[in-house]
Each structure stands twice: as structure tokens, then as C-alpha cells.
Amino acid sequence: MARLGMVIDTRRCVGCMDCVVACKTENQTPEGMNRDWITYATKGRYPRLSLTIQSERCNHCDEPPCVSCCPTGASHVHDWGRVVLVTKEECIGCKACLASCPYDARYVHPDGYADKCTLCIHRVEQGQDPACVSVCPTRCMHFGDLDDPESEVARLLASRTHHAVLPEAGTRPRIFYLE
């Protein structure tokens, strides 16, 4: 069974937010609410500085606390690709998942349910990349099956130094950043 994830090359990324804008148009997210976002971390003292830019989103964790804490089963791991999803009809809007997520990846949709990145599963099932990956003008984002050693994502992780966001949270995140 596939274990879908992303590998993002921070050297190429310029933080242009195309991924953020594309998600908004593709998924018609509500005004002011985003399923992905950019972080900028400047370190050092002028002029000896470094800047790390990351396109972040739900990490589709292998051990997702948002799923284990969900009282109704609305938050679940999809049986294909192990993508973490929410069944909006089953969500009661209790926000337990929002509180449990170390990445602050979820918001409550104005219609009352928890919402977040789906890895554009509706596109992936048609053989397309997620919207954020498909638009990226710097081609810094890669998507695929982390368990397939022949996949681009697996090969990139095998060949380059990388990190994840907050691995210490113990949720085993699946979005990786090449350094």
C-alpha cells in the first residue's frame, strides 16, 4: 500500500506562495483560511544571515493524533495512500483535532466541520499531482509514494540531507524538506 508524502527542495523554493494560491483556487477554501502556508526563518545578524523558506501543510502523519482523538471517526486515514482525511458529514466541529495537531494544519470551515489539506486526493486519484505541486514555478515540490524505493521522493530522500517539521512531536510526519 502506498504511503504518500512530499519532498520539498528548500534550495529552489523562493516562497512565492503559488502553492498557497493554487490550493485556494483548486479547493475553493473559505476566505482567510488556508490549507497550506509559507514559513520564513531568518537567522544571524546582518549581513551574515541565512533564510529558510518552507511550504507547509498537513503532514499526513503516520501516527496522526487528529485521528486518534476524533470522537466520531470523521478524521480518518484513507485506505489508499494513507492520506489523512476528514469526512465532513461525520464531523461535529468539536475542534479536538485542531488542538491535537502539532502543525496547526486545520481550521473549522464556516459550514462547521474541520478542514485541511487532502493532498488533493481528488487529483491524485486521476493520476495528477496535488495542485500545489503542479503549479510550483521553481519545481521545488515532489510528490509520491515514500515506500516505493524507485519513486522520485524516495530517491531524493536517500540522496540528500533533509528534515521534517517538529519530528519531536512523535507523529512521524510525511512532508520532508531538502536542505
Binding site: 527542495d9 534550495r11 529552489r12 523562493v14 516562497g15 512565492c16 506562495m17 503559488d18 498557497v20 494560491v21 493554487a22 485556494k24 483556487t25 483548486e26 476566505e31 482567510g32 488556508n34 531568518t42 544571524g44 545578524r45 546582518y46 549581513p47 544571515l49 541565512s50 533564510l51 523558506i53 485521528v67 476524533c70 471517526g73 478524521s75 480518518h76 486515514v77 484513507h78 485506505d79 489508499w80 482525511l85 469526512t87 465532513k88 458529514e89 487532502t118 486526493i121 481528488h122 487529483r123 486519484e125 486521476q126 493520476g127 495528477q128 503542479s134 503549479v135 510550483c136 514555478p137 521553481t138 519545481r139 521545488c140
Partner: protein, 729 residues
């Protein structure tokens, strides 16, 4: 683990899955426009208008409603990927602040009180006023300001009317000095899209050019490719930009001293014999005189001017030489900084010439375009008076019309009066320096007509406002692109305009008919016009409607591939020494003059771009406004701490002439020198019609009350203003 069944998943994403099924036909371009998926998906190729790059795109309509815009995979510019502005282009259609109907001024100018009228009433009013100006002052008393491909039909109408006065801020407020500097050196401008071969550069030098924040799609894509393939990047910028963060060498240069750095770099290349001797010997003119001229400008000389240590200057010069000719010293785009900009750009051209990069792979390629004949119009009437913007060739090397020259003539009435302005898709209040002068000129007019999509500040001053359909709702002039891979592209309507907005071609044609200029519009429909032009090139409108873009095979573009070096300078060579500059009283080899310092305790005001906005045109776009709704003022964190200011504090900026900005949030950051502040251009709107953007952030343009005019070409250097910060109570 909590698993769901396949069936339940399909239920919750049912609509999306159907959509994706149709979208899966992405690769099969033929028949694209006709493609109608099972759930009402329609895909229409067109080209983007969020900036002037004109990327080719495919818009998707779902059940009759515009859904998204993506890159056209056949497009050499976007390679199937738009920038964030292009991706957010759908917002232009849905923008709640769009102009909806023609408006006539109902109060004093600038009060933004209007009467809605019909198109016939509005155009009849404009035509009557224009004919009155023509009768009293001559047709030359009407000027057109425009930006972008959309202005082409209005330019045609204004020429048919008999006026030679047509200008765009893209020259004297932007890339003009750069194009003039390169023309003086190589005999050709850089052009747009820039002929920079970034993707093949092994060393890329950026001087104040913030690619990545400045989101010119092809350039940013190639910048990422160059980084990905390990190119050595050198960035000189007073701000630690995104591009600087990718650089091997970041040079924290003192603002306004780039020319000193360029001279020192050239000094090292010549002194150490690192330049391309063969190339210079074959193609150069006046090298010995040039070498003698730059001899004093050592890295030690440049150090106190620039703040860059001599060893860093030497090391980076050697780095450039190591990779030549695949070393690209980028010419930038917005080059109107200090008033010596054409000479600074010429120094960039000369540095490239020393490296032998002009015409070479990884440097500057030779662009090509497909041949598409123009429409066979009757000849335009010959104006009895020349253009008003540059009387007596005061700026002898201006290669295009100077907007600020027209503005000055409008104020002074010299060399002759200008009484009517037509303004298309350019917010002159923010585009031109010193808005007080612009308003003074407007007050001298008998007629100001603004044609635009949203009611920007300049529309607020208009007598007549004409609402235009967005690029997603209209046909436009063809894009016959001059590029590495030449192509012809079509803009065509994807959806209907939401109210009474009209395409610019219709506005220009209807106005011409009311002016008695029907001979200049023999075509009745835009389809007829476009098909005529395309048939002349052996293509057809039907083919372009299907595919959006037709590209030619890539021709030879480098000297290495057989392009014959040719320079249309007076000497027919690369002019290291310029006799024509000397003859007009200018430095034949660029010389550095230290820019004037500001008042004690003030900061030089610098401005630039954000990747999600274009000029002051996109701040009400609901998609892009969500990505960035206001700008910030960057201040060095140590300076901020001493002043007791913190990130998020609201401050006002006061400039040297007492002009005070809107409140704006402070960004205290290490990523900028202590002697300057930085803002993204385009915010701090004051027009009542821009409800979403009104009062958000501050306008750098409002604070640009001073400018230094480039004596070679009339460009307005705008980085000569200084501000202090005041905390907002």
C-alpha cells in the same frame, strides 16, 4: 487506525472526482476549447494579464463558473506553470471592487462622485470633448498613457486621431535606463521578456534585482534551475533578499553605490587580465581608452563608497571570470533608482562585454519572433507638431516617449498645450513620481478619461471612467513574442463580463467611429481582425482558439550556434568608449558620483515587489489579497530596538518634504542595512472604489516627492527620498 471504505470516500469527494476526470485530458491540447467534460468542465486557452510577461494559460470553467487558471504546457514562457499572480488571476473576474458601468464625474475632480451613464452617452461625451480639443489646440493636444498589450487598439485610435503623444511608465519609470545603457553599448536593448539565458548561466550576478520576490515567471523558473544545477550566485543588495539567501556571495552594498562596485569589478578583470581578450579584440571598440579610464577605480577605491571589502570585490570578480562566458550579470528591470541609471546600466553592459557573455550561452541569447504582418490600415495622418515629451531632444538618448515629459508639458503648456489625457490600465498616481505634479497636470486638462478594470487613484481624478472587461472576458491583440523560442499567442474570452464592462478593442473602435475615424477600422469584429492577421502568417484564428499558442522551432540563438555577431552602434562594435556620449557632453565611459545623503537620522526609502501582486493593480483581487493584504516597512532590527520599535508596531513614515504616509506595520528584521527602509510597492490605496484595499498598508509612491532625472534619457530615479518613522498612537 480508522479506515474508510472506498465507497464512502467517493461520496464525499464526488464533485471533485468528476472534475478531475475531465481535467485529466490536460495533455491533449487539440480540441481543447471544445472539450466539455461530464460535469460541465470547459477549458479555454488564453494568455495571462496579471503582469506584462504574458504567460500562456488554460482557464477552466466548471458548470459555467470560472474555476481556475493554469499554465499551458505548450507555452515556452511558463512551461505549463503560472506564477502566483497568474494562478490567482481568477480573482480579477470575481473582484467585488470592479468598475461596472461607465461613469461621468458629478462633482469636482478627485471627489469620486459619479453619475452612471450608458456606453453611448459616455463615448459621445468623450468624442465631443476630444473634437473640441482638436479644434482649439490641434490633435497633438491629446495624449495616451497606457500599459500592456491591451493598450494597442487605443494607441491605434490615438494615432489615427493625429496625436504622436503616447507613452508608458515602463520606459521612464522602469526599464528605460537599462535598455538605453545596453543600446549605447551593444546597439540593442534588453527587451521584454529579457534575453537573459539564466537557465544556462554558471555564474549569475544580481544587482538589486530580487528575482523570486520579483516574479517574472520565466526568469524565476530559470533562476531555480540555475540554483538546482549549482550555479554560483552573487547578489549585491542593501537588503538580504530571497535571492540573496540563495547566493554564494552576498554583498551588503551601501544604497546608490552599485556603479562604484561595477567599476571596481571591471578594474580587477582588466588589471588581472581575466577578461575575454579574444572577444574584446574581435568585437570591442575603444577598449584602450576604457581601460585607461577605469584604471583608478580599484577595489580599495570602491571600499569606502560601497562598504564592500576589497578582497570580496576581487574574489567575486575572479568568480565571474572563472565561469565566463556563462557568467550573466543581470541587467535588472526596474532600473530608475538614482538618476545615473543609464550609465549604471551601461556599466553592467560593459562588465558583461568583458566577460564575453553577450550573444553567448549562459549569458544573453539572440531572441527571435515569428513574422505576423500587421493589419493593412491606411497611413496615419502626419502630426504637424512633434511629440511633446522631449522637446529639442533635451534627453538625447531617450528611445521611447517619456511620461513625465508629457506631464511637464501639460503643466507648462510648453512646447505646446496638452489638454486631454486618455489613461489605459496604468495608475499614474502611483506609477509616476511626485503625485502632486500629476494632480497639477490633471487640473490643467479639459478632459481626463480612464479606462481600467478597477477604480484606482487615477480613475478617482477622471472626468470619465470606462470599465474594461478583464483578460478572461475579452479578445486582445495577438502576442507575437520575441523570445528564445518564438511563438504567437491568442487571448480570448473564457467567461462573460459580470456587468456592463467592455473589451478595450471595442472601446477603441467605438470611440474612433464617433470621432469620424471609420477608415481606420475597416474590420467589424475582433475575430475578423485577428483572423486576417493570422491568415497573413499562414495560421488561423480557429487554430489559435484551439491551442492558444503556436510556437516555431527554436532557431539558433547563440554565437556558438552560428548567430553572426552584429552591433548596430555607430562603430558597429561593442562600444567600450562611446563617442556619441562624449559628443553630447556625457561621460564616454561611466563614472561614479556619490549620491547625496539624506537628513541626519533619516533612512533612504527603497521599494520593490512581492510575488503575489503587480504594481498597484491587484490589491483588490480577492485571491491575491488573501495571500497579502497589506505591506510592511522593513527596518533593521538593531535600529528598531534602539528606537523602541517592534515588529507589528504601526508607524507612519514622514519624508524629507513633510509628506506623511498611512499607518503601516513595522517589520523589524536583520535582513536590511541600518541606513535604509524597504516597502513593497502598490499598497496604501486612497481611492474609495478600492474598498478591499483602502487604507491597507502604506504607499511608497506617495513618499516619492523627489526624483533625479537621468540626463541621458529622462528616466526618473526614485530612490532619492528619505524618511523618518513615527509610532502611531
Amino acid at each position: 487506525m480508522n479506515h474508510v471504505s472506498r465507497r464512502r470516500f467517493l461520496k464525499i469527494t464526488g464533485a471533485g472526482a468528476g472534475v478531475a476526470a475531465a481535467a485529466g485530458t490536460l495533455g491533449s491540447l487539440p480540441g481543447l476549447r471544445a472539450a466539455k467534460g461530464p460535469s460541465g468542465i470547459r477549458r479555454v486557452p488564453t494568455f495571462c494579464d496579471l503582469c506584462f510577461w504574458k504567460c500562456n494559460a488554460i482557464a477552466t470553467v466548471r458548470d459555467g463558473v470560472l474555476w481556475k487558471v493554469e499554465g499551458n504546457p505548450d507555452d515556452p514562457l511558463s512551461r505549463g506553470r503560472l506564477c502566483p499572480r497568474g494562478t490567482g488571476g481568477v480573482g480579477a473576474h470575481f473582484d467585488a471592487d470592479r468598475l461596472r458601468a461607465p461613469l461621468l464625474r458629478a462633482s469636482v475632480r478627485g471627489e469620486e462622485k459619479w453619475t452612471e451613464v450608458t456606453w453611448d452617452q459616455a463615448l459621445a461625451h468623450v468624442a465631443e470633448k476630444l473634437l473640441k480639443i482638436k479644434a482649439e489646440y490641434g490633435p497633438e493636444a491629446v495624449a495616451l498613457f497606457s500599459h500592456g498589450v491591451g493598450g494597442s487598439f487605443l494607441r491605434h485610435s490615438i494615432k489615427a486621431f493625429g496625436s504622436p503623444n503616447s507613452a508608458a511608465p515602463s520606459f521612464a519609470q522602469c526599464r528605460g535606463p537599462r535598455d538605453v545603457g545596453f543600446e549605447l553599448t551593444f546597439g540593442e536593448p534588453i527587451g521584454s521578456p529579457e534575453r537573459t539565458d539564466i537557465r544556462n548561466a554558471r555564474c549569475l550576478v544580481l544587482i538589486g534585482s530580487h528575482l523570486g520576490e520579483n516574479m517574472h515567471n520565466t526568469q524565476v523558473q530559470e533562476f531555480a534551475d540555475a540554483i538546482g544545477s549549482g550555479a554560483s550566485v552573487i547578489v549585491a543588495d542593501p537588503r538580504f533578499s530571497v535571492a540573496a539567501s540563495k547566493a554564494k556571495h552576498y554583498l551588503p552594498i551601501k544604497p546608490g553605490t552599485d556603479l562604484a562596485l561595477l567599476l571596481a569589478w571591471m578594474n580587477v578583470l582588466v588589471r588581472e587580465g581575466l577578461y575575454d581578450r579574444e572577444y574584446v579584440a574581435a568585437h570591442g571598440f575603444g577598449f584602450e581608452a576604457f581601460a585607461a579610464e577605469i584604471q583608478p577605480f580599484t577595489p580599495e577605491w570602491a571600499w569606502p563608497e560601497t562598504g564592500i571589502e576589497p578582497e570580496t570585490i576581487r574574489e567575486t570578480a575572479r568568480e565571474m571570470a572563472r565561469y565566463r562566458p556563462a557568467t550573466l550579470v543581470h541587467p535588472g528591470r526596474h532600473a530608475t533608482w538614482y538618476g545615473d541609471d543609464a550609465q549604471r546600466s551601461r556599466a553592467i553592459a560593459l562588465l558583461n562585454a568583458l566577460l564575453g557573455s553577450w550573444g553567448r550561452k549562459g549569458g544573453f541569447y539572440q531572441p527571435a519572433s515569428m513574422r505576423v504582418p500587421g493589419y493593412p490600415y491606411p497611413p496615419y495622418p502626419k502630426p504637424t507638431r512633434g511629440a511633446v515629451d522631449n522637446p529639442g531632444e533635451r534627453y538625447p538618448f531617450a528611445s521611447e516617449a517619456i511620461t513625465t515629459g508629457i506631464r511637464e508639458a501639460t503643466i507648462t503648456g510648453k512646447p505646446y498645450p496638452v489638454k486631454g489625457w486618455m489613461v489605459y490600465a496604468t495608475n499614474l498616481i502611483q506609477a509616476l513620481p511626485d503625485e502632486r505634479e500629476t494632480i497639477k497636470a490633471i487640473q490643467a486638462l479639459d478632459l481626463l478619461v480612464v479606462i481600467d478594470v478597477v477604480g484606482s487613484e487615477i480613475a478617482g481624478w477622471a472626468d470619465v471612467v470606462l470599465p474594461e472587461a478583464t483578460y478572461l472576458e475579452r479578445y486582445d491583440e495577438l502576442n507575437v513574442e520575441l523570445f528564445r523560442e518564438p511563438f504567437v499567442a491568442l487571448r480570448q474570452p473564457v467567461v462573460e463580463p459580470p456587468a456592463d464592462q467592455k473589451p478595450n478593442w471595442w472601446i477603441a473602435r467605438e470611440l474612433a467611429l464617433k470621432l469620424g475615424l471609420e477608415a481606420y477600422y475597416p474590420w467589424k469584429t475582433i475575430e475578423e481582425y485577428l483572423d486576417h492577421r493570422l491568415q497573413g502568417a499562414g495560421m488561423s484564428l480557429a487554430a489559435l482558439q484551439q491551442r492558444g499558442v503556436v510556437a516555431a522551432p527554436r532557431p539558433a540563438v547563440y554565437y556558438e550556434e552560428g548567430v553572426v555577431p552584429a552591433f548596430s552602434t555607430p562603430s558597429k562594435k561593442i562600444e567600450f568608449y562611446s563617442v556619441q556620449l562624449r559628443d553630447k557632453g556625457f561621460d564616454p565611459v561611466p563614472r561614479f558620483k556619490r549620491p547625496a545623503a539624506g537628513p541626519a537620522g533619516s533612512f533612504r526609502l527603497l521599494f520593490g515587489r512581492a510575488p503575489v501582486h503587480t504594481f498597484s493593480r491587484t490589491q483588490t483581487n480577492p485571491v491575491l489579497a488573501q495571500a497579502m493584504s497589506e505591506n510592511e516597512v522593513w527596518l533593521n532590527a538593531d535600529v528598531a530596538e534602539r528606537a523602541g520599535l517592534r515588529t507589528g508596531d504601526r508607524v507612519r513614515l514622514r519624508n524629507q518634504d513633510g509628506v506623511v504616509s498611512n499607518p503601516v506595520r513595522l517589520k523589524a528584521t536583520q535582513a536590511i542595512r541600518p541606513d535604509c527602509v524597504y516597502m513593497v510597492h502598490g499598497f496604501g490605496h486612497t481611492a474609495k472604489g478600492l474598498r478591499r484595499a483602502l487604507g491597507k498598508g502604506a504607499s511608497d509612491a506617495q513618499l516619492v516627492t523627489r526624483y533625479a532625472t537621468d540626463p541621458l534619457m529622462g528616466g526618473t530615479g526614485m530612490n532619492v527620498n528619505f524618511v523618518t518613522l513615527e509610532r502611531e498612537a
